[in-house]
Symmetry: D2
Subunit: 117 residues, 4 copies
Amino acid sequence: MDPTDAQTACFEAGIKFGSLYHQFAGTPVSPASADSLARAMEEAIENQPHCESVTVDVLREELAAELAESAADYTELTGRFLDVEMVINYEGTEVRTRMDMQDGYPLMRVEDVRPDD
Amino acid sequence: MDPTDAQTACFEAGIKFGSLYHQFAGTPVSPASADSLARAMEEAIENQPHCESVTVDVLREELAAELAESAADYTELTGRFLDVEMVINYEGTEVRTRMDMQDGYPLMRVEDVRPDD
Amino acid sequence: MDPTDAQTACFEAGIKFGSLYHQFAGTPVSPASADSLARAMEEAIENQPHCESVTVDVLREELAAELAESAADYTELTGRFLDVEMVINYEGTEVRTRMDMQDGYPLMRVEDVRPDD
Amino acid sequence: MDPTDAQTACFEAGIKFGSLYHQFAGTPVSPASADSLARAMEEAIENQPHCESVTVDVLREELAAELAESAADYTELTGRFLDVEMVINYEGTEVRTRMDMQDGYPLMRVEDVRPDD
């Protein structure tokens, strides 16, 4: 069957998450550069269709803790350092999604689907 | 509302498409290296959860046509050179998705959602 | 033979250019998001060892011109939209490098190698 | 001063390493998909100018060991799982380079510069 608008909205939400993660994972990042990276991630993904808002938090405390254990000044961006929220709207269906750490893995998930009345 | 299984299946399908595109876009590619890249893309994304199959065609004829117009031996992978099909299965809901060129743009879309009987 | 310091400085400069290009090529970009992306690219690569400064200009006029020809609001970052300068210092040898468009291709090159006196 | 051919050869070698790493880091990888990814990396980077050969080993034993410690079937490609050799030739100067783990970090380095006689 063809997808419903709500299903397409969820598909679009997934595209944005996969894009955000695989475009920026691996970027050299430090506590000092965390904010500029977070802003660029937000504004880049907000360009994509049906994307209402993207909020990225690059977790400076987690970065600082990891760097304290090593001799390095920076590391590579990975899901362990990210907390992301996105709102997608497709033909009136609003989808709220989130990625954060759950049981040691970055978990992307749909938190709310709100179809038009 | 919480997502249905079919909505989650569509979300998962979108994640795979965004991942595939933004992980591999920009890769140096020529007609001779098109096949190894296509195989790697398929096997990489098939690792992701709920992903039943990925079929990637890197379009050698399109690559050859673009290179014939320039002095270059290779170019960067972009949607213009890709035809991709994916099958996702989440809790018994099967979602079939595709990306190919439509009106000059690479269009990712859900072609079929088949919930469990 | 083992590399000289000046040769290692040039190797390090090349690493930064390849990193910058292949990390960020493919990022969704518009005139409005060009600046945040440029700042993130600079600060990300400046994290890498021996990297004194990175200056990235994402060319808004070029972006606007390309978007005016199409129905799209954004495009993917590629070398056509970039002008980059980097200064690397390895053990006292300073290397100045640049990437910009030359004859239709983004050309990365070493402009100056200044060994220690 | 303008770079010598040997310095340019080292710059070109660095570009290939940065490209290889930041194009492919973050790719979903498992012991079963390690070989197709390694082949694609080799053939992709060999497209680039002045690149004579690229040999990539994606370390299946390291992957298997990491996966055995977790509940996951796959992980993201990072330097810990890579051993790479490259030969660059620029105007007769041959440069041999390598990346492997040294003291817990992936180290990219020039092993040999052999100018023309």
